[in-house]
Subunit: 316 residues, 2 copies
């Protein structure tokens, strides 16, 4: 099959189809999204080698363990947990100590014709959710995770630092809470999307003196954490979403003196994300900038890496 | 009056008695404690100049605004807030944007014969609490603040990093929760105090692979935050207590990937601290290592700075 392979350099190559484990289904990838994390992985983050890609929608092609899944259109939770370690036993499977993560750690990713995933990771996509929307399930779930971790309502003054793919998904998720929402970024065409969500928009230099109740750091740049921390009011909350090459560093004196709460936020549950799209509360497809054939993945990555680029999709 | 003065160097000098504002009492200091923050201030933290000292117990000597306080034995909340700024109006007076802080910021401190404080900041010391215990009210309140910010109970595996004055006060406060408590430090005579509280004790190198539900960072060294963060389990909590010269820096990738919650914790309410001592739940006097006359403050600071020193008191 065809696949995007990273072994220090990025190329499109012919590789063997992945073999499913006993509890796994084989999924034919219909559409996959390039994420900021993918761009970091091919810059050296997490010493990644292999096939990247963790945002995808596809159709179950083979599933001996649970044939009822055959032919269904699915998205898949990306963390594959062991179910036996102390973290799994503590009901934190996404933090499993021995986990593999689709296209990120020890599990061949979705920039390929086929992937395998445990049946337990699969979610059927409702008919009303298009492939173009469903491919956003994973990042939308990650955005929705914020609302599992922080209570946000109409009294809160909330800022999102970063007007990129993730920042705008977070804006879509937070807008319905009724909070007073500000998106901080530099790209007029992206900030225009935030304005359509009735968010205020600001340039980074315009919020130097601000003091928000809650700040979501979604700049995709490790150094973004510094400015985001600055903008939190005393006893306020900073939610961190960015991972990448060269970790950020938070000033502990500021955290202590102003008694700030910092919350790391990574993955979220898929069902609420699928529901939010089925119910038309969130429409992530406005973020799609272009779609490339898998064989044009090098050009697609270059496009995704451009300043101001929104979502780039790959169609295997 | 006599006072410890820091103007780049530390000396004991004759200075004018402080003039009380309209809402203030004059307090004759009976006993004052040297805190890690004082040692940091005279190393250059917060560009401090003036009279340090914020842990104290004394007797109200003058109080035109509220004469009923005259002669009472008191401790005093250290943050003097304006009551008018947006932070005060949000009911966060300890975070007042225009606050002065006794012996730390814009308010002459307690290493002197007299201080002034607003009557609103005063708490009468119960007769059963000795001066030697009451002088710990401020740091004990800061330790108790942790329990206002994090729910800790018998199911939790909790580690305190730091076996110093603050770390041991935190241990005294956490022991009654029934949590499984580990104090991490290097000083046998301090760890012995933790053991008497039925805490387990460990050397830093013994907890390299540990994964605690909650870690309290109380090492007093900014770089202590790094090892403390390492020891938190996924979705666990890190409470930061240390401030000082050269802030610590937290690895944002670790916080995001393991979805850790970091909570800055500074000052606490005085009444629960006084009650805990009156009820004999906590006896901080076991931490007293030596008491010096105010005129011997230079020697007292040198003693407090020694590796492994516990609480050093000054008697004006």
């Amino acid at each position: 099959m065809r696949a995007v392979v990273f072994d220090g350099a990025l190329r499109v190559d012919e590789i063997d189809e992945p073999e499913p484990d006993d509890d796994e289904a084989v999924i034919k990838v219909a559409l996959a999204g390039i994420c900021g994390t993918d761009l970091e992985l091919v810059r050296g983050y997490a010493d990644f080698r292999g096939v990247p890609g963790h945002e995808m929608v596809g159709v179950v092609e083979d599933c001996e363990t649970a044939p009822q899944w055959l032919g269904r259109r699915v998205v898949g939770e990306i963390n594959v947990s062991c179910g036996r370690c102390r973290t799994c036993r503590a009901n934190l499977p996404t933090h499993c100590e021995r986990r593999s993560v689709l296209g990120i750690r020890g599990k061949q990713g979705a920039f390929a014709n086929f992937i395998t995933l445990p049946v337990a990771n699969l979610h059927e996509v409702p008919p009303s959710v298009s492939d173009e929307a469903a491919v956003f399930t994973e990042p939308l779930a990650a955005a929705l995770q914020i609302l599992q971790q922080v209570e946000i309502d109409g009294r809160d003054d909330v800022a999102i630092f970063g007007d990129g793919r993730l920042g705008l998904l977070v804006a879509m998720v937070l807008a319905p809470t009724g909070c007073r929402l500000t998106v901080v970024g530099k790209h007029p065409h992206k900030l225009a999307i935030a304005q359509r969500l009735h968010a205020e928009t600001r340039l980074p230099e315009e919020v130097a003196q601000a003091r928000f109740d809650v700040v979501i750091e979604a700049t995709g740049r490790p150094e973004g954490a510094t400015a985001a921390l600055e903008a939190v009011r005393p006893r306020g909350v900073l939610v961190l979403k960015t991972t990448g090459v060269g970790s950020g560093a938070l000033d502990t004196n500021r955290i202590v003196v102003d008694e700030i709460e910092v919350i790391g936020s990574r993955c979220g549950a898929f069902e609420p994300a699928l529901e939010a799209m089925a119910d038309r509360i969130v429409d992530p497809t406005v973020l799609i900038e272009d779609t490339y054939a898998l064989d044009d993945a090098i050009a697609a990555f270059e496009h995704a890496r451009r300043r101001g680029a929104l979502k780039i999709l790959l169609r295997p």
